[in-house]
Amino acid sequence: MITEIFYMNGYGIYVWTSFFFTLLSFITLYVIIKVQYTKERNRFISKYGALDSKKAETARSQKINKEILSSGQSI
C-alpha cells in the first residue's frame, strides 16, 4: 500500500519531485521575504530609538510608525 503510494506505477519520481520542488520553492521565498521584513523592521526600530526627543515627537505623530513598532509578531 505504502510502496504503491510512493511508486505510483513508475510515475512516483516525477509526481513527488514536482510537489517537493513546489513546496521547497514556497518555503524558500517565504523565508527570504520574512528575513527582508525582519531586517527592515529592526533597522526601523534602531533608527526610531536613536531619535532625539523633538524628532521622536514628530515621528510619533505618524500613526503608521506606531503600527510598524507593534507589528513584530504579525508574521
Binding site: 514536482s18 520542488f21 520553492s25 514556497f26 521575504i33 520574512k34 527582508q36 521584513y37 507589528s71 508574521i75
Partner: protein, 235 residues
C-alpha cells in the same frame, strides 16, 4: 479618488493580515495535497503523472494573472500619478516569478513521462519562458535604477511589452500545433475535465492564490517600512 490606497491606511490592514492568511493557506494546501496526491483518480491515458497538473496548472494561471495585474497597476499608476500602485505591483512580482518558475519546472518534469522529453521549443513553453524573462527584467529594473521617476517609467514599459505575451501564452495552443493540449477548462462552455479532478485543481489554485497573497502582504509591508526608514533619516 484613490484615498483608500494611501499606505498609512493600508498598513493597518496589511500588517495584521499575514498571520491569518498563513493559517488559512496551511489549511487549504493540506486539503489540496491530500486531494491531489491520494484522493483524485489517475488518468486513463497518463496514469498517476496527471497529478503534476495540480501544481503545474495553478502555478501557470497565477503567474499569468499576477503579470496582468502588475501591468494594470503600473499603467494605472502612471495615468493617475499614484505611486502606491507601483508599490503594490512591485510587491506582487516575487510570487509571480516564483509561480512562473514552478510552472516551467513542473511542466518539464511532466513532459518527460508524457512526451519523452524534458524540454521542447513548443509555443506554450517558449512563451512561458519569455514571461519569466519579463518578470526578471521587471525585478532587475527595480534594483538597477536609483532615480525614482526613471524606475517607474522603465518598469511600466517592461510590463507593457510583456503583456503582449500573455494572450500569446493563452492562445498558443489554438494558433500553433503544439505538444500542449487545448484548454480543458473553459469559463464560457462545459469543461472537458471530470469534477473529481476539477475539485482538487480548484483547491490547489485557492491555496496558491493564498500563498501569493501572503507573500504580497509581507513584501508590501517590507517596502513600506523601507520608505519609513528613509523618512526617519530625513527628520
Amino acid at each position: 479618488m484613490f484615498k483608500i490606497f494611501e499606505p498609512n491606511k493600508i498598513f493597518i490592514i496589511t500588517s495584521r493580515a499575514p498571520k491569518y492568511v498563513l493559517i488559512l493557506f496551511i489549511m487549504v494546501i493540506s486539503i489540496g495535497l491530500v486531494e491531489a496526491l491520494f484522493l483524485s483518480p489517475e488518468d486513463y491515458k497518463q496514469g498517476h503523472s496527471v497529478r503534476i497538473m495540480y501544481v503545474h496548472v495553478p502555478a501557470a494561471w497565477i503567474s499569468l494573472g499576477i503579470f496582468s495585474s502588475i501591468t494594470l497597476l503600473s499603467v494605472s499608476g502612471y495615468i493617475f500619478k499614484n505611486k502606491n500602485f507601483f508599490l503594490i505591483a512591485k510587491s506582487f512580482a516575487p510570487s509571480g516569478l516564483l509561480f512562473n518558475i514552478i510552472a516551467l519546472v513542473t511542466g518539464s518534469i511532466w513532459g518527460k513521462p508524457t512526451w519523452g522529453s524534458w524540454w521542447a521549443w513548443d509555443a506554450r513553453i517558449t512563451s512561458m519562458l519569455i514571461l519569466a524573462i519579463f518578470y526578471l527584467m521587471y525585478l532587475v529594473a527595480w534594483r538597477m535604477y536609483e532615480n525614482k521617476d526613471q524606475v517607474l517609467r522603465v518598469t511600466t514599459i517592461i510590463t507593457i511589452f510583456g503583456i503582449v505575451n500573455v494572450p500569446i501564452i493563452k492562445y498558443s495552443v489554438d494558433w500553433w500545433n503544439t505538444l500542449h493540449q487545448p484548454a480543458s477548462i473553459n469559463l464560457l462552455s462545459k469543461s472537458s475535465i471530470h469534477t473529481s479532478m476539477l475539485f482538487p485543481l480548484f483547491i490547489m489554485t485557492a491555496a496558491f492564490t493564498l500563498f501569493s497573497l501572503l507573500i504580497f502582504l509581507m513584501k508590501y509591508n517590507t517596502e513600506l517600512i523601507k520608505i519609513k526608514n528613509k523618512g526617519l533619516d530625513r527628520l
